[in-house]
């Protein structure tokens, strides 16, 4: 405003003698507080039921206190161990003490399981040795341990224990990118036959891109049609987009199973029309193809709706003007119409990509072997292998990716324009 260049001779005041500027500022502040106060209940609710639980879950990916808590003496005794040769009697004695206690409160199995994630086979080494050690009244323990299992004579076993001797570590994040520490503490790749997560992240990206591209390819023409038809027809056609949007995800996934399975509707039609023989039924489901087909159909409305709302605002006169200036139809479309749809293309593609990358249900039901995505592996480590730290680390990486895309979306499109039909 003008205040920087033109100072008023006398400061304006309100009726009660306050300077106008202060008074306005106070009103402004009160309005801000009032606006904020309205948001606070939801904010608190989401913090408790959503943000905090996710944060707590991600915390597991770096917080790994089990070994420190349950083998305290061993970890302390290993502090000065240089890692070149097997440790001396004091370390064995400390481990024996921890094991006896672990046998008593039945916690030794937890340690064994945790260590087994890092080094296969250690589990039974620990539980069996603990059973024997519990019977020993006193040392020397080193002999007894080496006698119980030759794994105690290997540096790697001790290095594994020492590595988990930090309450906070990055072991799980390394594992999520197919890397690990070797006995010297260097980061190295996992052996080739155990490299899995990098390819899975790659596949997740690839499938999401493919789904996004398919959605764009299929969504563009029908959005165009919806936007250029008279209102009565386009409203009718819109129902065909909105009905799938409103139909349960599981219902749609079920339908795809019904349609695509090898004794399913589509294969029956193919056989009936003679395109393929009875023996030549095509495997369309329980693989990547089936997953991409189903996900494309499920996510297509999220592409069509933003595209349509952008196309609706493009005046047909642009095209007419271009054509009357001599541009062929196709060129007019490509040079004049298409660039105007870019905001819709961007918004739709980003939204579809964000939703696709974290998909779980559809790949789990129709993905088979080659259609599994990273979410399915997170679920696997949550529910079957019980390696919750690794699940949290994989989830952390996925979440960072999604949040980056979300930030981009917010920047380019604005979250409040998330189209809901």
């Amino acid at each position: 405003m003008a205040e920087s260049t033109l100072q008023p001779p006398v400061a304006l005041t309100t009726a009660d003698g306050q300077p106008l500027k202060t008074s306005l500022a106070r009103v402004e502040r009160r309005a801000r507080i009032r606006a904020f106060a309205l948001v606070v209940p939801l904010l608190i609710f989401l913090c408790i039921t959503f943000l905090f639980p996710i944060g707590q879950m991600l915390f597991r990916s770096i917080h790994d206190p089990l070994v420190v808590d349950l083998l305290p003496n061993t970890i302390a005794a290993l502090k000065d161990w240089d890692g070149t040769d097997i440790p001396g009697e004091p370390v064995f004695a400390a481990l024996a003490e921890d094991m006896k206690k672990g046998r008593e409160d039945r916690s030794i199995g937890k340690v064994a399981t945790r260590l087994n994630f890092e080094q296969s086979g250690v589990r039974s080494v620990i539980t069996r040795t603990a059973r024997r050690v519990a019977k020993l009244e006193e040392g020397p323990y080193k002999e007894a341990f080496l006698d119980a299992n030759k794994a105690w004579g290997e540096v790697e076993t001790w290095a594994t224990i020492k590595r988990l001797g930090n309450r906070f570590n990055t072991v799980q994040y390394l594992a999520s990118v197919d890397r690990r520490f070797d006995t010297e503490g260097n980061v190295v790749m996992q052996p080739e036959d155990r490299q899995i997560y990098v390819p899975i992240f790659g596949r997740t990206l690839w499938m999401s891109l493919l789904v996004t591209a398919c959605c764009l390819l299929l969504g563009f023409p029908i959005s165009y049609m919806l936007a250029t038809q008279p209102l009565r027809i386009s409203n009718l056609l819109m129902i065909m987009v909105l009905l799938p949007f409103w139909t349960s995800l599981l219902v749609r996934t079920t339908s795809w199973i019904v349609i695509l399975q090898s004794e399913g509707v589509l294969n029956d039609i193919l056989v009936w029309t003679g395109i393929v023989g009875e023996d030549g039924r095509v495997q369309l489901i329980y693989n990547q193809t089936g997953t991409v087909i189903a996900m494309t159909q499920i996510l297509l409305p999220f592409m069509v709706l933003p595209l349509y709302s952008v196309m609706k605002t493009i005046s047909p006169s642009y095209m007419r003007a271009a054509q009357s200036l001599g541009a062929p139809r196709f060129q007019a479309f490509w040079k004049v119409y298409a660039p105007n749809t870019l905001p819709g293309v961007g918004a739709g593609s980003l939204l579809v990509f964000i939703l696709a990358i974290g998909y779980y249900i559809t790949p789990a039901l129709v993905g088979g072997r080659t259609g599994q995505m990273i979410s399915n592996f997170i679920a696997h480590h949550m529910q079957s292998s019980l390696n919750w730290g690794l699940a949290a680390a994989l989830g952390g990486i996925l979440l960072i990716g999604v949040l980056l895309l979300y930030w981009l979306y917010n920047k380019l499109v604005g979250v409040e324009r998330l189209s809901l039909g």
Partner: protein, 363 residues
């Protein structure tokens, strides 16, 4: 009708929202098992008579195996499951990790002839935290209509996609599949785990699996393989023998079981540490594992009882009247080339092998 629905809905909502359920006097017992025909056999043989006798209601829930839920409940100190039906490796691992209640075996009733329970159960079927009920087995079966000529007869035939073309179904886990692969590759059943304990042995098993990888449809829940076989999705599939029996006799499917190379295992009752109705669960275990009850279950599904005294009591199938004994995994004819799942091996190596298996699947 509408009003009724409304009022019960509101009442239920109130109950749910304020947690009144847990304050009720006689808590129902939550018993978790594998679903389908198997859960049905337990409901018929154990749950119904127990409820009739004691008046305690039993809520039966399904799961797909594993200790995840038990671990989550125990670690959080909020256990809602009273009794879980688990595989042997999980019973041992859960006990080691302090997730399961130790069970005093003196609660188990003696056999009718007075043999103490400890001697009546087959060796190795009682563990610190678990009481076994059945011997079950993973076998493979084929659809007879798909093979009019030569019929698959050995484990090697399952891996022979040239001689017996068509899709195969296999469980999406390395467990049992690696064993099958080695048996098919010519390793005698009693040497399988010695071979698997070496890196070369594992490579060999994966190489064998690799030979049919493109022809395999993977299943996860026990009810899937008979369905896949019935739908024609696969021409042969590995499956739990009881499910196959059910499809054969109750649903009259033209399935044939190949017992060669079967991998057998136990199912056991365990109680999660801190279960809400531990005492009742113990009573239920004692009730359901007595001689008659175990034999009763065998009238519903073709899994063998783990008490010796139950075996002579096995008669016919409750629904179809089929003689049950020839369908048991432990029947002499079926048991010729059989392998017991080695729980120690799997407890030790399942993390590594799962990871390798997943990596292999993803390639």
């Amino acid at each position: 009708m509408k009003n009724l629905l409304k009022s019960t809905t509101v009442a239920r909502a109130a109950v749910a929202a304020f947690g009144i359920v847990s304050a009720q006097a006689a808590d129902p017992l939550t018993v978790v098992s594998w679903g389908g025909a198997y859960t049905k056999s337990q409901v018929e043989a154990y749950h119904k008579p127990y409820t009739e006798m004691t008046g305690v209601e039993i809520v039966s829930a399904d799961y797909n195996g594993g200790l995840a839920e038990v671990k989550a409940q125990v670690e959080a100190g909020n256990v809602t499951w009273d009794l879980v039906d688990v595989e042997l490796s999980d019973a041992v691992r859960g006990c080691d990790e302090g997730l399961l209640e130790p069970i005093d075996k003196s609660i188990l009733p003696d056999a009718p002839d007075g043999t103490p329970a400890a001697d009546d159960f087959l060796p190795g079927t009682l563990t610190d935290c678990a009481v076994s009920t059945i011997v079950w087995s993973t076998v493979y079966a084929y659809d007879a209509t798909k093979f009019p000529g030569d019929k698959p007869a050995t484990m090697a035939d399952f891996f022979d996609t040239e001689g017996f073309p068509g899709k195969r179904g296999m469980r999406k886990t390395p467990k049992a599949n690696l064993e099958f692969a080695l048996i098919a590759d010519g390793v005698p059943a009693d040497e399988v785990y010695d071979v698997l304990a070496t890196p070369e042995g594992i490579d060999r098993a994966f190489a064998k699996l690799d030979s049919i990888k493109d022809d395999v449809v993977w299943w996860e829940a026990g009810a899937q393989p008979p369905q896949m076989l019935a739908d024609g999705e696969v021409v042969m599939t590995t499956a739990y023998n009881g499910r196959l029996f059910n499809a054969q006799t109750v649903e009259n499917k033209p399935f044939v079981i190949v017992w060669d190379g079967q991998v057998w295992d136990l199912d056991l009752w365990v109680i999660p540490q801190g279960a809400p109705n531990k005492e009742e669960a113990l009573k239920f275990i004692a009730f359901s594992t007595d001689t008659q009850r175990l034999a009763d279950q065998a009238a519903w599904i073709s899994y063998g009882p783990t008490r010796k005294s139950s075996v002579p009591l096995i008669s016919t199938h409750a629904e179809s009247g089929v003689e049950m004994m020839p369908h048991m995994p432990t029947a002499p004819d079926n048991f010729k080339n059989a392998l017991q799942n080695d729980f120690e091996f799997w407890a030790d190596y399942q993390d590594e092998l799962n990871e390798r298996f997943n990596a292999w699947l993803a390639q």
